[in-house]
């Protein structure tokens, strides 16, 4: 479903070359719920930006639904983001002064779809927020905002849902609810990729890809939550070791 091969991305920071991604290959199958984990500076944000088509790798290929999108033009990438990728951000990133429903409609308008309102209502229903559709983000709680953001990500029925620290701005109880929602969505067939630094969040996923210094690595041994997963990871994803 998602196949990225030998991704390389470097930045020059203060005269020093930083290898944000150093020959990283990832495969995510349809229907999986996978975590990308790593400490800050490990390159997980860069990987997420490339997988989310916000950025292009320097070398390497990225196949999304069988198409190599690593060489797409900016406009083509915008279309890929619009139709095949749904983003969920740590700080929700909803547009203020627009109702929940209008926020969810937005990607459909960019897609030029005329059934935007109807589809947006369905998506809001999926995340359990039908009764809040006319509230503006400022009138919603953090958990509700994140639900609206998830509905917005879902509404175009994308190939993959990319969540960047989706529980980072929420209290632990609400965070659990959001993770439970992701699990439900995953159970209904959505492919989900969660980027997090939090082992507890990663533990909710079927497997994790651990990044360290721009390379895929084994999680550190003193990481209690990850420990339990290592064995399973090795079976599911041999190249991750």
């Amino acid at each position: 479903m998602i196949r990225a091969e030998n991704l390389v991305k470097t930045y020059v920071l203060g005269g020093q070359v930083v290898h944000a991604l150093d020959d990283v290959s990832v495969t995510i199958r349809e229907g999986e719920m996978v975590a990308i984990r790593g400490p800050s500076g490990s390159g997980k944000s860069t990987l997420m930006n490339i997988l989310g088509c916000l950025d292009r790798p320097e070398t390497g290929q990225y196949f999304l639904a069988g198409e190599d999108v690593s060489k797409f033009s900016k406009n083509a990438l915008a279309e890929v983001r619009n139709r095949r990728i749904g983003f969920v951000f740590q700080n929700f990133n909803l547009l203020p002064r627009m109702s929940a429903l209008e926020n969810v409609e937005l990607p459909l308008h960019y897609a030029g779809r005329h059934d935007a309102v109807k589809a947006a209502r369905v998506a809001l229903e999926t995340v359990g927020l039908s009764d809040r559709s006319h509230h503006e983000p400022a009138q919603l709680s953090g958990g509700q905002r994140q639900r609206v953001a998830i509905a917005r990500a879902l509404v175009t029925n994308p190939a993959i849902l990319l969540a960047d620290e989706p529980t980072g701005a929420l209290d632990s109880k609400t965070g659990e609810e959001i993770l439970a929602l992701f699990k439900t969505l995953n159970a209904n067939g959505h492919t989900i990729l969660v980027v997090t630094h939090d082992a507890h969040v990663a533990a909710h996923c079927q497997r994790e890809i651990y990044l360290h210094d721009g390379k895929i690595a084994a999680p550190p041994n003193d990481d209690p939550v990850a420990m339990s997963q290592i064995a399973a990871d090795k079976e599911l994803l041999p190249e991750a070791v």
């Binding site: 930006n49 983001r81 619009n82 627009m98 937005l106 990607p107 308008h109 960019y110 897609a111």
Partner: protein
Amino acid sequence: MLFWMIVKVAFKSLMANKLRSILAMLGIIIGVAAVIAMLAIGTGAKQQVLDRISAMGTNLLYIHPSPRGTAGVISGTQLNLSDDDARAILQKIDHVKGLAPVVSRSFQVKYLNQNTLTQVLGTTPTYLSIRDFEVESGRMFSDFEVEHWDRVAVLGPLTASNLFGFSDPVGQVVKINGINFRVVGVLKSKGDQGWFNPDDQVIVPYTVEMHVLMGVTYLREIDVQCEEGSDLDAAQNDIFALMRQRHKIPAGMPDDVVIQNQSQFIEAFSATATTFTILLGTVGGISLLVGGIGIMNIMLVTVTERTREIGIRKAIGAREFDILSQFLIEAMLMSGVGGLTGMGLGIGTAWLVGQVSPFPTIVRVYSIVLALVFSAGVGVFFGFYPATRAAKLDPIEALRYE
């Protein structure tokens, strides 16, 4: 993205910052209002003067001595028009209904302790009908008084009030250049005409002006009124020929008089008035331009402020064109609303000026169209750069922007 969605979003974001949007639009509002009001005043003033000139009749000829000069530099005026010339024209030229010799100079005019420096114009009673003057009180002096060098004067209404205040000048004696004149009448007001106020003058018999006040034998001009419908060009040529003969100008030498007629005046004035109107319009246009810069400024601030929003929109699939059109429409909406408001204000101002001042104002449709098209253009032109900047933002950077 649907057009009306963009407009709705643009409208919402303008409403979210009402004061700022209004301040940004103010430049356009004032600019458009200025263009419309200025053009209305210019057009109205032009129309008024043209009407006045036409009201005097189109059958007038004005004879002046030719200016003397070389290479375009006027170094003096020949003194060659005499009252005998005037009499000859009246007698010998066909279709001449009447004429008025004119001679004038500024003199001090005194009444008791009041005095004023004003134009004292010497002529005959015909002058009033030729120049469309009417007598308000008293009477005009007569041809008899002109022939007998009687020291009588008719005052312009402004001169009369300058010297006499609210009391009646008729029958009183004023001193012009130290010589006593009896006031026989006061003219009706014609209003200031900009370059000359016909209300501020004194009219006396030309014989007195020439021989008693100025001590000259030459006229400044002769105003000739031809019969209605007569051939002015023919009359003009006849007068030229008569003057050449009387002034003994050898063949091949240029004429020593200049003859102007009403249509030349209208033409010359129209050209001046058009220049004047263009000038006014340009001043308004410059304020429109300044208004456009104000809009660009606010749009640049808006783009910076909404960097994050742009990042979000790009992340969920907005193309560069979507972002570009969103901000461009926002700029155009601002200049468009400003333009419409300015149009209302401009028409209102023009109407108000027409009500409270002596200048009539005429709002022409072309000036409204011009101002609106210009303001929409300003919106596109000055909105384009900020919108392009927004469209070119890197989505990752934009999403990270706090």
